[in-house]
Subunit: 124 residues, 2 copies
């Protein structure tokens, strides 16, 4: 029930940067994080369930923020666009994930407090 006063902004979650938090971009970043060599544009549309236009738009936002790099190259003479997470992007994404973990911890603690424990993250 949390009757003790909580800090102002306790649930503001300022670390949930909108550039990374937007659902489609969150998917793109998660798809890229395991692949230091990058992912081909076409493969990325498939993995993220996005149209070419949508993916382009989201990549523009991510590239503008310095989180991804879009490289034009060739794969067996066919032009290929590859999307790569930058090292700044990896760092920012990691910070963002830390804030996301905080949300899950807060929610788990809250549910415990009212006696409806969800299995999982409370102890994380």
């Amino acid at each position: 029930m949390a009757d003790t006063p909580e800090k102002a902004g306790r649930y503001a979650y300022d670390g949930l940067d909108r550039v990374l938090h937007e659902k489609a971009r969150l998917g793109v970043l998660t798809a890229l994080v395991a692949r230091p060599g990058g992912v081909a544009f076409t493969e990325l549309t498939r993995l993220c369930g996005l149209t070419d236009g949508n993916l382009s738009r989201h990549l523009d936002v991510l590239a503008e923020a310095g989180l991804v790099e879009v490289r034009k190259g060739y794969d067996r003479r066919r032009p290929q666009t590859t999307c790569v997470l930058t090292s700044a992007g990896r760092k920012r994404f990691r910070e963002y994930l830390g804030e996301l973990e905080q949300v899950l911890r807060d929610a788990a603690v809250a549910e415990e407090a009212i006696g409806e424990r969800r299995p999982g993250l409370a102890g994380a």
Copy 2:
């Protein structure tokens, strides 16, 4: 490196419903989840770091979706607005949190795969 082909839409995260995923609304829901009796409007602005206008706007979206209920009442003769998570809201929020856990697991597995393990959620 994940060289095996992954499923189409693997990173689409369709469960990240925009009504709940939006950063301010995520804060509001997390603030409400521990308080079955609800939270006074003014206290909620303070906890979430939102202006009255912003909170109203987000409550409208959440109420429209049936996730919260906004109750007009009195506290010692002074009018008071109280915000309460509905039981449907609690259920939907729980499902949303499950998807969020999936994102964190995917990211943790990815970082493990490239040998830069973050402490925490990989085993969750």
